[in-house]
């Protein structure tokens, strides 16, 4: 009974206090605490709302010493942001507090100085129309430019240069068949469609910029990696495509590893293929200029200063779209020549490679139809069929399976 009376008294007093109270409470507390914006620098702390972005930048290989304003209030584009420094105030025009920059705002043209830091130009993509058509990724940049997913071409930059993940769905031909008679094509056909999905899973953080050596060609081009490393199991050699003549000492042929040019085979992948097939290996063909720069002793061995002139590697961003003919057509530094250690002239002395008139997408597999180690007959007196008469009937599958028949 006493408890009931006490409770009734408390409720009564509380009701009376509430009823007579003159204070009201604001719905959104602190909405009248205005931040002073009269200092010269940005007075509103971006990280208050974008703390996660700050954390991403802290673990980034690049830009981690930049302030938010360095990029998002970059003044080099002509955008007028709202600002004030006590003495005067400028209203924003194109943007108020911040804008989403294009990477090329700083990395375009001749590059830009951000304080004492130089933002180097993104080679080729900094030029009008994104430079030459030899850049393998130019189509990606163009598509990114025309998509409305992000500012400018940023999607293309982000998928390679940051921890923003990417999933790529490729489609291309499944296989080709061709017949070669005396080094002339008497039939050619392409068949089927191969669908290949690849996913480069990263943290997803768009503000975590990657060290350049962390950008792995094989992550997006896993079909090529698989073609070079795994392919299709064979009884002697495995069916490995995309880079030629890979017979090594494990096979019955016991081929030497040097070649007609008098040096160790350029495309040869020694054991531990999974390790040796990496970005540096890709650059041997797809960016000879970069490979030569990073491997000066190899540059000397392989006369790469001349090979560079045969390619367009100085005119690309990171990778060149090329065919075998780029280096091995007649007149090139590494044009097809006889191996004096072997009999038969093959197609040396003529521009068989340069004269292949089928679509360039088939070019590599046409070559691999003969130059894949697994299709090389193990003796049996068939040398002249190819090496002398130039007769072959070929079936070869595209990457990654690379299975081939050459009869």
């Amino acid at each position: 009974m006493r408890q009931t009376i006490a409770l009734a008294l408390i409720l009564g007093v509380a009701s009376l206090v509430l009823l007579t109270s003159t204070d009201v409470f604001t719905l959104f507390a602190s909405q009248h605490t205005f931040v002073n914006v009269s200092f010269a620098e940005n007075d509103i702390n971006c990280a208050d709302c974008h703390h996660r972005i700050q954390e991403e930048l802290n673990s980034s290989a690049y830009h981690n010493n930049f302030s938010c304003e360095d990029c998002h209030r970059f003044t080099g584009t002509g955008i007028t942001f709202a600002s004030g420094d006590g003495a005067s105030a400028t209203p924003g025009r194109e943007a108020h507090a911040a804008y989403t920059p294009r990477c090329l705002d700083c990395h375009g043209g001749s590059g830009t100085w951000i304080g004492s830091e130089f933002a180097p130009p993104a080679k080729e993509f900094n030029e009008s129309n994104y430079g030459s058509n030899y850049s393998a990724h130019k189509k990606l940049v163009l598509k990114a430019k025309n998509s409305n997913m992000s500012a400018g071409e940023n999607e293309a930059c982000l998928v390679c240069h940051t921890n923003y993940s990417c999933k790529i769905s490729y489609s291309y031909f499944y296989n080709i068949n061709y017949t070669l008679e005396n080094w002339s094509f008497s039939s050619f056909s392409y068949n089927g469609t191969r669908y290949y999905d690849v996913q480069w899973v990263k943290s997803g953080a768009k503000h975590e910029f990657l060290d350049l050596d962390k950008i792995k060609c094989t992550k997006c081009h896993k079909n090529i990696y698989d073609a070079l490393v795994n392919g299709t199991s064979g009884s002697g050699e495995n069916y490995l495509t995309h880079a030629p003549i890979e017979i090594d000492t494990t096979g019955s042929g016991n081929w030497d590893t040097d070649n007609a040019w008098g040096h160790y085979r350029y495309h040869y992948i020694p054991s531990y293929r999974a390790v040796h097939v990496n970005s540096s290996y890709c650059f041997r063909c797809h960016n000879v200029d970069k490979y030569a720069d990073e491997n000066p002793s190899y540059a000397l061995t392989y006369n790469l200063s001349y090979v560079i002139e045969d390619t367009n590697s100085t005119d690309v961003h990171c990778a060149e779209a090329l065919t075998c003919a780029t280096c091995h057509a007649k007149g090139k530094t590494k044009e097809v020549i006889d191996n004096t250690d072997r009999s038969g002239e093959g197609h040396s002395g003529e521009d068989f490679v340069g004269n292949i008139s089928y679509a360039r997408t088939f070019n590599g597999d046409i070559c691999m139809g003969c130059h894949e180690a697994a299709v090389h007959p193990d003796g049996g007196g068939q040398c002249s069929r190819c090496h002398k008469w130039g007769n072959a009937e070929v079936y070869i599958e595209s990457e990654p399976s690379g299975y081939a028949e050459n009869t």
């Binding site: 604001t26 605490t33 009269s38 108020h96 804008y99 990417c166 779209a321 089928y358 088939f362």
Partner: protein, 271 residues
């Protein structure tokens, strides 16, 4: 028995007492409304807001060097010439020379920040350096028809002018700075086409929790707690197709779409 005795004494006292006590003390002490401005102290009920106005020295709270703004500057907003005319002008209840009943609002209204910050003039030194006294020029048009009265005669002293229009750093008088960069001011050069936060501002305008874009303005320009649920893409899906005939081929990037969204929460002021 003792309780009965106590009740009897209380009843006797109540019966014999000449004075009654009102439940709401002071309810018959009326404010004089005939003076200029608002005569009812807003702080009486809004003590928390009054306290907030003392926390920081910033816009509206003493940045001009002449003290914080009065409640009525914003909540009984005056006619402003240079503003986005889509904002309605209210008539509040007032008693000065005449009694004006309120129309859209009685004592006060909430106000869109952009009401004052949507003009196209900013930051200029006043032609007459009218820092010392605004009133000789900006007075009632009936007294000085050659000069525009300040806010159509709403204010009657220079102190009111200074609290909004003074610049403590330079000693100049300045126009209220427009919040440009969202295409919401009357300036033709205000396009807002590159503004990162424009979708935030536009959503705030559509949202009726606060007036106009106030949710967005206050989220950045005050210490108000803000909780943001970000939903961001962590992956790009790219479709790459090889188109080919027997003699011609090319690679094409047919599509790039954002995917693999992840949600995270940011609370302003928690870090």
């Amino acid at each position: 028995m003792r309780l009965l005795f106590l009740l009897l004494i209380v009843c006797a006292l109540s019966f014999a007492m000449a004075q009654t006590a009102s439940i709401f003390a002071g309810q018959h002490t009326w404010y004089n409304l005939s003076a200029n401005g608002s005569d009812v102290p807003c702080e009486k009920c809004h003590a928390d807001v009054a306290e907030e106005m003392e926390v920081l020295t910033g816009p509206h709270t003493g940045e001009t060097g002449f003290g914080k703004m009065k409640c009525e500057y914003c909540h009984r907003f005056p006619p402003i010439w240079r503003r986005n005319q889509t904002f309605e002008n209210y008539t509040y209840a007032s008693v000065n020379a005449d009694v004006i009943p309120g129309k859209e609002a009685h004592a006060a209204s909430t106000v869109p920040c952009m009401y004052c910050h949507s003009g196209d003039k900013y930051g200029v030194r006043h032609a007459n350096h009218a820092y010392s006294d605004c009133w000789p020029c900006h007075q009632d048009p009936s007294e000085n028809p050659n000069h525009r009265p300040a806010h159509e005669g709403r204010y009657k002293n220079s102190e009111d002018c200074r609290r909004c229009h003074a610049n403590a750093h330079t000693g100049d008088v300045y126009y209220i700075p427009p919040a440009g960069g969202f295409n919401l001011t009357t300036s033709a050069s205000d396009t807002g086409k590159n503004a990162s936060h424009i979708s935030f501002v536009m959503s705030a305008i559509e949202n009726d929790t606060m007036e106009d874009a106030n949710e967005a303005c206050l989220a950045c320009h005050t210490k108000m707690r803000v909780e943001i649920l970000f939903n961001v893409t962590t992956e790009a899906e790219i479709t790459v197709n090889n188109s080919y005939t027997q003699s011609h081929s090319y690679w094409n990037v047919d599509e790039i779409t954002p995917s693999n969204y992840t949600a995270y929460r940011e609370v302003k002021g928690e870090q």
